[in-house]
């Protein structure tokens, strides 16, 4: 249980995938203009990340490792992720048509979100167990969501602030992201994992 908690804290705060490991920056910059969209994207990514983390662990442990096909892991994981994303897209389209419309192109783009593949590969490198890889995937997703929601809330504030002309738009977004990343560096060394 303590292990599980440590993994969560480690992935959410200390090794935050977006702000410390710089994975998944594309949706981080792309979908953070509106808080509601960011929430939707966070939810979709959380679902995909956790599920794909588990599925890729299962595929690796029960298929690739016994057959000595470890070198196929990247291809197999991409296949797993693509399927999970496709599945999520169908579910979201059915349950929340508006969220589907708002997320638009970003939903299929979760496939190429490097955080998703990153989690799957890091699970293997860290030799996580089944439960650990669930925790790792979920923690990574919560960390991603936290960063995305905080960032989009800040950007909504910035939208009405008086930003100097050369810094408007993406430039101030980049600077904000950098400052947030600096702030998250403060967690370094909190958990050794």
């Amino acid at each position: 249980m303590t292990d599980f908690l440590l993994i969560l804290i480690s992935t959410v705060l200390v090794n935050n995938f977006v702000l410390v490991q710089f994975l998944g920056l594309c949706p981080f910059m792309g979908v953070s203009n509106k808080l509601e969209t960011a929430m939707g994207m966070s939810l979709a990514t959380t679902f995909v990340l956790t599920l794909s983390s588990v599925c890729s662990y299962l595929v690796y442990t029960y298929l690739l490792a016994p057959l000595d096909l470890v070198y196929l892991q990247t291809v197999a994981f991409i296949l797993v992720i693509a399927v999970v994303v496709q599945f999520t897209e169908m579910v979201v389209h059915k349950t929340s048509p508006l969220l589907y419309k708002v997320l638009g192109i970003f939903l299929p783009l979760i496939t190429t979100n490097c955080a998703v593949l990153g989690v799957a590969l890091l699970n293997i490198r860290k030799q996580n167990s089944f439960m650990e890889s669930i925790g790792y995937g979920f923690g990574a997703a919560v960390g991603f969501s936290l960063a995305l929601v905080l960032f989009s809330a800040i950007r909504e504030r910035i939208a009405v602030a008086e930003v100097p002309v050369p810094f408007r738009g993406a430039a101030i977004g980049m600077i904000t992201a950098g400052l947030m990343s600096l702030a998250f560096m403060g967690f370094a060394g909190l958990v050794k994992f």
């Binding site: 509106k34 509601e36 969209t37 595929v59 298929l63 690739l64 057959l67 000595d68 096909l69 196929l72 291809v75 197999a76 296949l79 797993v80 399927v83 496709q86 599945f87 169908m90 579910v91 389209h93 059915k94 048509p97 508006l98 419309k101 708002v102 009405v160």
Partner: protein, 196 residues
């Protein structure tokens, strides 16, 4: 050779299993129609008046979901636009005056002794709220009438009036409070500065 073969077989097997899962999901989560259109249609006032430029409320709902402007519905007025903006996560915009202005709710009234029984208004009515037959007097079912004005134009003897619905204890509503965006003085300042 063996390892190559097993690699290909494993990938093929994986793809087959995933394909089956997705195939099942696409049947299980099949979308019939466009659910967003239903939600928009439920907000529109269903007067079927055609002032938006579409033949009725449902075609306009379809057009909104395809990206048309949300401010083309005079019978619904500002409250409908606000609800649509809320649903579609857009900024609320004022009514487009090109399509008409917001007015009090009205119902059609046929001055019955002048009616010649031509049935032209019956054909024009989008909601079948006018009763009558050829060469017999017509009349309006008040509870069905949406106040769309479409029957006034075809009447050859101009015996149809649009009467405002009187406010009764049952139909009176509190006036809507001002939008919270305009209450805070600093927000007003930012908005006026952006305009300059």
């Amino acid at each position: 050779m063996d390892s190559v073969l097993s690699a290909i077989l494993v990938l093929l097997g994986l793809a087959l299993v995933f394909g089956l899962i997705l195939g099942y999901a696409s049947v299980r989560f099949k979308i019939i129609g466009n659910p967003l259109v239903e939600q928009i249609d439920a907000i529109l006032p269903q007067t079927q008046c055609g002032q938006c430029g579409y033949p009725g409320c449902r075609p306009y709902a379809q057009a909104i979901s395809d990206g048309d402007a949300i401010n083309k519905c005079p019978p619904g007025g500002q409250s409908t636009i606000d609800q649509l903006a809320e649903l579609l996560n857009q900024e609320s915009i004022p009514l487009d005056s090109e399509h008409g202005t917001e007015d009090v709710r009205k119902v059609a009234y046929i001055r019955e002794d002048e009616c010649i029984g031509c049935t032209k208004c019956i054909q024009a009515c989008p909601v079948d709220a006018i009763l009558g037959a050829a060469k017999l007097m017509h009349t309006v079912i008040v509870s069905e009438c949406t106040g769309c004005d479409l029957c006034v134009e075809p009447c050859p003897v101009d015996c149809i009036d649009m009467i405002p619905v009187a406010t009764t204890i049952g139909s009176w509503k509190w006036p809507a409070p001002p939008s919270p965006l305009q209450i805070i003085a600093t927000d007003k300042r930012v908005q006026t500065e952006e305009l300059h």
